[in-house]
């Protein structure tokens, strides 16, 4: 069984320092087994300015088994599948330690965005590009960030859909969007803080 009391504590601890970390974790439903993580793209990278959503599924053995994480937002990165969003990161596999948390894991994912490891690629095409034509890689990654990770570039219906996909109820999404004047970043923040 998942240790829900620990998950609760993790969520509290995480929301406490949203300001400093920028990392958010919100449950998709009541059962805490499926969550959404949100990380801001690190500054000084092609991912800067983007907001990246990550699907989190907790296995029964959590925290003694690693959480399953996968990008919901499309990303162009050597260690993240451009197709499925699968992440190649050691701490999500054999280097997982029960002492790590969802927040520390998401911080590691964020760090991975800053420091790709093309030698251990998840996406061979991206990795090849990263090694051989770095400038093209940067361009593509930035374009993907603009296209997929910036909610503001979307129309209202797309904004709604995007936020619903993150796991928020549609009616709540619509009312929140209205309340903040259509700025999906503000809406997201509002939705996340409850």
């Amino acid at each position: 069984m998942i240790d829900f009391s620990r998950v609760q504590k993790e969520l509290q601890e995480c929301s406490r320092d949203i300001e400093s970390s920028g990392i958010r974790v919100t449950p998709k439903s009541d059962n805490l087994g499926r969550l959404t993580g949100i990380i801001p793209g690190p500054t000084g990278t092609p991912y800067e300015g983007g907001t990246f959503c990550i699907d989190i599924t907790l296995p029964d053995g959590y925290p003694f088994e690693p959480p399953k994480m996968q990008f919901a937002t499309k990303v162009w990165h050597p260690n993240i599948s451009s197709q499925s969003g699968a992440i190649c990161l050691d701490i999500l596999k054999d280097q997982w330690s029960p002492a790590l948390t969802l927040k520390t894991a998401l911080l590691s994912v964020q760090a991975l965005l800053s420091a790709p490891q093309p030698d251990d690629p998840q996406d061979a095409v991206v990795a090849q590009q990263y090694i051989k034509e770095y400038q093209t890689f940067v361009g593509t990654a930035r374009y993907w960030t603009e296209t997929f990770a910036k909610v503001s570039s979307l129309g209202v219906e797309e904004k709604v859909q995007k936020l619903v996909e993150m796991g928020f109820p549609e009616s709540l999404v619509r009312s929140t969007l209205e309340a903040v004047g259509g700025d999906e970043n503000l809406a997201l923040e509002k939705l996340c803080s409850g």
């Binding site: 620990r6 993790e10 053995g61 003694f64 330690s97 029960p98 002492a99 790590l100």
Partner: protein, 585 residues
């Protein structure tokens, strides 16, 4: 078997609880009694089998048992390599690599005991100190979390190296803590853990392998030094230690693998053969076409035409078979089929001979009973001849040489064929070597047949003089075949295998006495079916047991103070050896 006479050291365990942690009492003393050669490791002797290795490491590095085990598991039970790393890179490197952490931690302890509760960083609960456990690395978490962690790891099959829960801590958890905590919640899982630990000695050790018998006899075999050898388990299974298939020297493991596969595949070719035989028009037996010529003749003497099956005369010219004119007579010209045919015939040549000797071996094994009966009849006769050990010896020699002969054919098939040959050998070179080898093979063959013939004679009905004569023949032939086998192995090892890809073909050395029987690992342990119980000590008495008995039948199970049985004038009876072998030594 080698003699056990030189091993008159005693071996016993005292019943101190500490020895289980490796902290021995002064008087507890252990030495593995080591007759040379392969050993059978039973479930009951598995722990004892690892004892010596553990002990060596514990003594040299002044370590506790579980640390020694962690090191040995990391170095795959290769004590020599472990020591080499120690000498080259030092103790701390050795420990860090393997995840052994030993810290002096009194300071920490006294500091921590000052407050009565601790926070577990995993479940994020505050709890009283006695509900938490600190590992050797210094990391402390609550018992519930540790237990959960251990259970997940054991279920993942990682029992042998359960790491600490702290992030990036490489330390391996103390097996005693694992055992203790897990058994409280999941006794069966604790047992599994125990077994994994014990079996690491087999699984991770290149000198120890499970016996490949099916159904599995439960034993493992440990060899010394050379992995290229052939052994017999106490269950009777004989196998090649290196590849775990049947014994196959002087064939190399790779050759044997190819050959077995080929034999399976080519059994389809047997169909080819049935398609390619035709019934004789006279006696109706299937007759095989031999070569390209379409005039075939049956063993009954009838000649007939392959194409139409009609009876013919025995003469033919290129265009015509005498007395026959079906008009279709023509030599087969197609190169491809010729080549395939040539390859097939080459295979059949070797396979037939291989098969012939294997069949003879089986027949002769069955004959053994008959021959031994002749011996007992002879022994009861009023006669000055009393000693019939030449018969048993001759039989052993016959079996041994038969096997060598049969496996020498697949060897030759690959040695002189094109499949495995590297550029190293020229055509001329190969022909010379092949004919030398075939000479040896033929010599061996004819002597083996002679030996078989003499042993098959009804000597129980013969006069003493005639028996004496046969005896001389059998003894001579035994000696001759033995030395021919030895020569053949030498020739293979020294002159032939060298021209194949180096390192790929190793053969088990020739053992005159036959395939070596693994001897029992002699230990002081009483037999217990459950390894876990070995760790439960008791207030054992000091009753002595002759040998560990076979199953969990020992009554005084808590007693570890056992002494090995010793025959007065040295030499041990090994109950697993047939009487004849024991008698001879």
């Amino acid at each position: 078997m080698e003699d056990y006479g030189d091993s008159d050291e005693e071996c016993y365990y005292s019943d101190d609880r500490e020895s289980l942690d490796g902290l021995d009492n002064e008087d507890s003393h252990f030495q593995r009694v080591t007759p040379k050669g392969p050993k059978v490791i039973r479930k009951e002797s598995l722990l004892a089998a690892q004892r010596e290795d553990l002990r060596r490491v514990m003594e040299l590095l002044s370590l506790r048992e579980h640390h020694a085990r962690t090191l040995l598991i990391h170095y795959r039970w290769d004590v020599e390599r472990l020591f080499a790393v120690l000498v080259e890179k030092g103790k701390s490197f050795l420990f860090t690599e393997a995840g052994v952490t030993i810290i002096e931690s009194q300071d920490n302890d006294s500091q921590q005991t000052s407050c009565s509760t601790v926070r577990c960083d995993i479940c994020i609960e505050d709890l009283s100190r006695d509900k938490a456990t600190r590992m050797d690395c210094g990391h402390s978490f609550c018992n519930d979390c540790w237990t959960e962690h251990f259970i997940v790891k054991i279920n993942e099959g990682q029992s042998k190296r359960i790491r600490c829960m702290a992030y990036k801590c490489n330390a391996i958890c103390d097996e005693a803590v694992v055992r203790n905590l897990v058994s409280k919640r999941h006794p069966d899982l604790a047992e599994k853990f125990e077994r994994f630990l014990l079996e690491s000695y087999i699984e991770d050790n290149k000198m120890v392998k499970w016996c490949p018998s099916t159904p599995h006899c439960g034993n493992a075999i440990r060899v010394e030094e050379d992995q290229f050898c052939e052994v017999e388990c106490s269950c009777g299974m004989q196998f090649c230690f290196s590849c775990l298939s049947e014994t196959h020297s002087p064939c190399s493991c790779l050759m044997w693998e190819l050959w077995s596969k080929k034999c399976r595949d080519e059994s389809e070719t047997v169909n080819w053969i049935t398609v390619h035989t035709k019934p004789c028009p006279k006696c109706h037996k299937p007759v095989e076409k031999n070569g390209g010529c379409n005039l075939v003749s049956c063993v009954c003497g009838q000649a007939f035409c392959w194409l139409c099956g009609g009876a013919t005369g025995r003469d033919h010219t290129w265009s015509r078979i005498a007395g026959h004119s079906c008009g279709r007579y023509k030599e087969d010209q197609e190169k491809k089929t010729e080549r395939a045919k040539r390859d097939l015939y080459r295979y059949m040549h070797y396979h037939n001979r291989y098969k012939a000797h294997t069949d003879s071996f089986e027949l002769e094994s069955k004959l053994k009973k008959t021959i031994m009966r002749k011996v007992s009849i002879s022994e009861e006769k009023e006669s000055r001849l009393r000693d019939f050990s030449w018969v048993t010896n001759g039989l052993q020699r016959l079996f041994r040489s038969r096997r060598v002969l049969s496996y020498s054919y697949p060897f030759a098939f690959y040695m002189f064929g094109e499949e495995l040959l590297e550029d190293g050998m020229t055509e001329v070179d190969r022909e010379i070597k092949q004919s030398l080898f075939e000479d040896q093979q033929q010599q061996l063959e004819s002597n083996v047949e002679k030996l078989s013939k003499f042993l098959g004679k009804p000597f129980e009905q013969y006069s003493d003089d005639k028996v004496m004569d046969i005896r001389m023949q059998v003894i001579n032939l035994s000696v001759v075949t033995d030395s021919l086998c030895k020569k053949m192995y030498e020739c293979i090892e020294n002159d032939l295998l060298g021209s194949l890809q180096p390192g790929m073909h190793n053969i088990a050395p020739y053992k005159s006495k036959g395939i070596e029987k693994a001897s029992e690992l002699t230990t002081g342990w009483s037999s217990k079916t459950n390894a876990t119980n070995m760790f439960l000590s008791s207030s054992g008495g000091t009753s002595k047991q002759e040998r560990p008995s076979d199953s969990g039948s020992s009554d005084d199970s808590g007693c570890f103070a056992l002494k090995r049985a010793r025959k007065e004038d040295g030499g041990y009876f090994d109950l697993n050896l047939p009487a004849e072998v024991v008698d001879r030594s």
